[in-house]
Amino acid sequence: MRRRTRSIAATAALALALPLAACASESGPPTLTWYINPDNGGQVKIASLCTQAAKGEYRITTEVLPRDAASQREQLARRLAAKDSSIDIMSLDPPFIPELAEPGFLAPIPSDVAEAVTTDVVQGAIDGATWRDELVAIPFWANTQLLWYRKSVAEAAGLDPAKTPVTWQQIMDAAAEQDKFLGVQGAKAESLTVWVNALIESAGGHILENPEASADELTLGFESDAGRKAAEIMGTIGREGLGGPGLPTADENATMTVFQRDRGSFMVNWPFVWSATNAAVEDGTLDASIVDDIGWAMYPQVDEGTDARPPYGGINLGIGAFSTHVDLALEAAQCIVSPENQAFYFATNGNPPSSTKAYDDPQVVEAFPMADVIRESLEKAAPRPQTPYYNEVSTGVQETWHPPASVNPDTTPREATDFITAVLRGEALL
């Protein structure tokens, strides 16, 4: 192409700048698309860190998924069902991994990579990334709920949860006596399943006895002592108003608000509450004395003396089976989950690492004085049922165990079993 004058050249260059840039990127390093769940910018930052570290081997761009886990699954499942090749890396909520792994939507993880990414990783996260005894996703960050308590309330009740693990009964009694509210997630959402699952697991049971079975052969474990105990606890909290009037709509955020107020007492919640409460103090919304009054401990027990099985959450990285750069995506995913990146992510976004090494990072210890408890909790955490029909099971739980006040140990476990069984057999709508 010949240009007569400089000005024309300049104009042309300007006009061509965009398309040229696009061309350059096509012929340059392959671009990997990472579908991330919304966070406070941490994953975008890690993506750019890894792009730099790759030294031109690949570039990672991010696409954000919806906020709630169920909608994230919807988006990904629909794209993957369409054999979408633009999905290279996905941030996956563990309960939905089997559904994507079963039809082969996730690229297999080679054994050498599998070994590398499971060394020094908390067991809960490995379990959550495993389907049919194979690692199908790469553990990224792992979340767990702790028992958060107001020291003043615990003291008045004669409890010291940090030293001696407390039971649900104890904190319910304490709240009732002092006319305070317990912080639990009673909203009809995934957080309700998280609670139900933790209660049943802590009582020694399981929501699904054989999670790997096919839809019509799944056996539900609600009608057991564990299921009844869970229903007893939940129903009592609901009926006696121990969760406050907001309970039937309380999600994690609302629970925290109640906990921060005058009637806050004990709360089960994820570690984000620590950074959020500190931020509120900085804004001048909360009194600084509240932070000093907050203690943390392991998740409450159902049976005294039996360790609780706290909720497990977090994100694992799946590699899209239809990606055109599976090898590079595996490489990039390993960069993303490096202990340094996990520590950075925890310190800046409040999402705890799955790598045990990351917990020794000084910035982690500074931002989260309860990091040790989190790690311990993760080692004991129980995942939610791992089944390709998780959506049906979870929504079925939410249909039958909501509102908490309606939960009855004599009827709810049976209702839940009948309902979910019918749904799984395609005989009922959700």
């Binding site: 907001g246 039937p248 608000t257 109640v258 390709p388 959506n391 709508l429 959700l430």
Partner: protein, 321 residues
Amino acid sequence: MTSSTVVPGATTSESDAPRKARRSDRARDEARLGWWLAGPAFVVMLAVTIYPILQAFYDSLFSYRLTAPSDKAFNGGQNYVVVLTDPVFWQAFLVTFVITIVTVLVELVLGFLLALVMHRAITQLRGVLRTAILVPYGIITVVSAFAWFYAFDINSGFVNHWFSWLPGIDADLNWFAHQGTSLFVIMASEIWKTTPFISLLLLAGLSQVPGELEEAAQVDGATWWQRLQRVVLPNMKAATMVAVLFRALDAFRIFDNVFIMTNGANGTTVLSLLAYRTSIGRLEIGLGSAISVLLFLCVIGICFVAIKLFKVDLASARGEG
């Protein structure tokens, strides 16, 4: 676009054709032009509706889950049996029905009052009033749902604080924890958003009532109420019926507010949400399509009832022909 209705082209050898034939030629040309002009719109409208609904009907005959595509199998009307024998469906149907009836009735009353106000208002006020009520009309439904949700939310809302003097309302009232109160807020937001539409239609109807008739009635000593009853309302019947039908069909498809506010908790699931949850949430394309088809049939049914039973004359009301 040419200015005349005579179309060039299609000039057949007309040497000995009688005038009658020429006129029919002309009519044919006019028809051809008409279809050339209106055809694209017609085709587009059909393409985006007829094809999908037929496809939905086809899919509804299969047991078909998107994440297990190999298990797709024809199962006759089984999906319909499941849906129609499931209390969940009938519960959703009932809730949708109640929402439709209540919102349309309230909107009709409120809309009529608003229309009267606008009709009677002095010119300076008319602009202000119209502008004000057009804001809810133009606002995005999702935005209005969020606004109402935040206002009533037990943690962030101000409603409980402002209205605590009313019996039954206090700081501890959790609007979204009970069926009745959730439905109240859902319907209130729907009413707020759509009353302007109905009231503008009614305003148009009001301005069609011949002024002389009303004056005559006034001269005869009829009270305001009598005039309303005997003169104004009967003359507005056509406009009202059309407004009601359109709003009813719209309300029957309610989705956005429910999705945002409760996502179907506490027995607030409506038909659209059920269809969405089944086909998009659960990826059960077969079952979801069956619900979609049933929803479509419901809408047709409402239309049929309105037109046959209540004699809503869309043609005359919409100025057809």
